[in-house]
């Protein structure tokens, strides 16, 4: 793998990637048990109900955990941060941290983060997070 991985949407995840392309972070919610969930599926992983909907997330969350990757990775210049953000809506996503140095002194767990979008190709924009203003 010499190049950065580009996601290939499936019918079940197309709404997510359509959203990021329009600058929206979309998660899903269950109409039966009212839980939010991620990654995308046409049913609720908490209760099995197919009665689910796509909802727009606020894009706000907090830094839940991270590493600073010093290993080579296609499309990245190490060191760079790989983080987990916990959204206000309760679900967690992997992200890089943009607009902040990969320095433990600058990365405090639970610091507020907000979403931004990184255009990878004409079809794929990747949700990314940065310190909240």
């Amino acid at each position: 793998m010499a190049e950065r991985a580009i996601p290939t949407p499936t019918p079940e995840s197309q709404h997510y990637w359509d959203g990021t392309k329009q600058g929206e972070l979309r998660i899903q919610a269950c109409n039966t048990c009212e839980q939010n969930y991620f990654p995308p599926r046409p049913f609720c992983p908490k209760c099995g109900s197919r009665d689910v909907k796509v909802v727009k997330a606020s894009g706000k969350g907090k830094l839940y955990s991270y590493i600073i990757n010093h290993l080579p990775s296609p499309g990245f210049t190490p060191p760079f941060t790989v983080a987990i953000v916990e959204l206000e809506e309760g679900v967690r996503l992997m992200t890089n941290l943009l607009e902040v140095e990969p320095d433990p002194a600058k990365l405090e767990l639970d610091m507020p983060l907000e979403v931004t979008f990184e255009k990878l190709t004409d079809d794929i924009s990747l949700p990314q997070f940065k310190p909240a203003k």
């Binding site: 991620f38 955990s65 590493i67 760079f80 992997m94």
Partner: protein, 380 residues
């Protein structure tokens, strides 16, 4: 499974470990299998069940010349072999086959004849994790640890002490890759791989293999080797996505698998004389000690740093030196089982005197899956 109803009668590693430039991956499977057959006086014709992971079981069957009545290709990462032991015990007990061969071989270092694992761009992992630059295990397996450190106050020094203690065990092992003593300072000044993980907190990458042969406890009495009985087993799976673990401070798969194994075995923690916890990275013995119930949540780091698991300590842990010092081909679970077997046979280079019960716990596909086996040399 029924307690002590099945035994492991053959257990061997490849003739060499570490750098093996003259064998491909399938060759490592075969070398280990032939060693295990030879030590228990069986030939390939006696085998009617085969299990393996990381390699197509049909190729192992064909390469070795076996005509099986039962096969298992369960591949859930490095703990697959714990699951094979469990599945084989069930198969033998229900009469599906009589004598099972479990093989592992991996040219982790020289990468000869390795199967390329398919990476589908549509999988969850490739859609929702890989685009963020995580590829190698050190970049994924380590991600929950900062949360653990914040929740419980685990220090980098305590994390480093895991590698230090295991090197003390490795020093006793003639086949360990690294045997020279190291200090916490050595670990904390080794090359940064993925903050907070440094090189000496990460597993080796070596070549090797191992094999186990299992049969009913009844038949095991006729073998030249000292039988080791399977007293309890457990397995579980959670998620291939490290970002979607339910709890970053504890593995659900560990808890479910460990509880099952202890319940089947009918043992309490104080009965355990010897413990193996798959250590691809330094945090895993900490999570394992807690999730298996040996210590309370948050106490694992201090328990190891205080010397409880080192030679002479109350709970001998990872006595081969572990993936951090002994060897790590990629799917290390087989080597943890081999050291559990040596301890139960009384032949480990770091023998725990009088040990009768060994618990061997494996993890696979990051925190994706787990398997736990309770071994004993005393069926009571």
């Amino acid at each position: 499974m029924k307690r002590n109803s099945v035994a492991i009668v053959g257990a061997a590693e490849t003739t060499d470990l570490g750098k093996i430039p003259n064998l491909s991956q399938i060759g490592l499977h075969a070398d280990a299998a032939l060693n295990a057959l030879a030590e228990c006086g069986l030939t390939i014709k006696d085998i009617d069940g085969v299990a393996t992971a990381g390699h197509d079981v049909t190729e192992v069957v064909h390469y070795l010349g076996i005509t099986p009545k039962w096969v298992d290709n369960t591949s859930v990462g490095g703990c697959s072999f714990m699951l094979h032991v469990r599945h084989a015990a069930a198969a033998i007990n229900s009469g599906l086959c009589e004598t099972v061969l479990i093989t592992h071989g991996e040219s982790g270092r020289n990468r000869i004849g390795q199967l390329n694992r398919a990476i589908f761009p549509s999988l969850f992992q490739t859609q929702f994790e890989q685009p963020y630059g995580v590829t190698f295990p050190p970049t994924r397996f380590t991600i929950p640890v900062m949360r653990y450190m914040k929740e419980y106050g685990l220090t980098e020094e305590q994390l480093a002490s895991v590698a230090v203690v295991q090197r003390e065990w490795a020093a006793k092992q003639s086949r360990a890759s690294f045997r020279d003593p190291i200090t916490v300072d050595d670990v904390l000044s080794s090359k940064m791989i993925c903050y907070p993980f440094r090189l000496l907190m990460c597993c080796l990458v070596t070549d090797g293999g191992g094999a186990l042969i299992m049969t009913s406890a009844e038949r095991a009495k006729d073998f030249p080797t000292k039988p080791v009985y399977v007293r309890g087993t457990g397995e579980s799976a959670e998620t291939p996505l490290i970002s979607q673990m339910e709890d970053f401070t504890s593995s659900r798969a560990f808890r479910v698998s460990g509880k099952s194994a202890f319940e089947e075995a009918g043992i309490s923690h104080s009965d355990v004389d010897h413990l193996m916890i798959y250590d691809a990275f330094a945090h895993l013995p900490i999570y394992g000690l807690e999730d298996l119930g040996f210590v309370k949540p948050g106490e694992g780091g201090a328990f190891i740093a205080d010397g409880n698991t080192r030679p002479g300590g109350q709970l001998p842990l990872n006595t081969n030196g572990g993936g951090l010092s002994y060897m790590h081909s990629g799917m290390y679970g087989m080597y943890a089982l081999q050291e559990g077997m040596r301890q139960m046979r009384g032949v480990s280079d770091a023998q725990v005197e009088g040990a009768e019960i060994s618990v061997v716990h494996g993890v696979g596909s990051m925190f994706g899956a787990a398997g736990t086996i309770v071994l004993t040399n005393n069926p009571g």
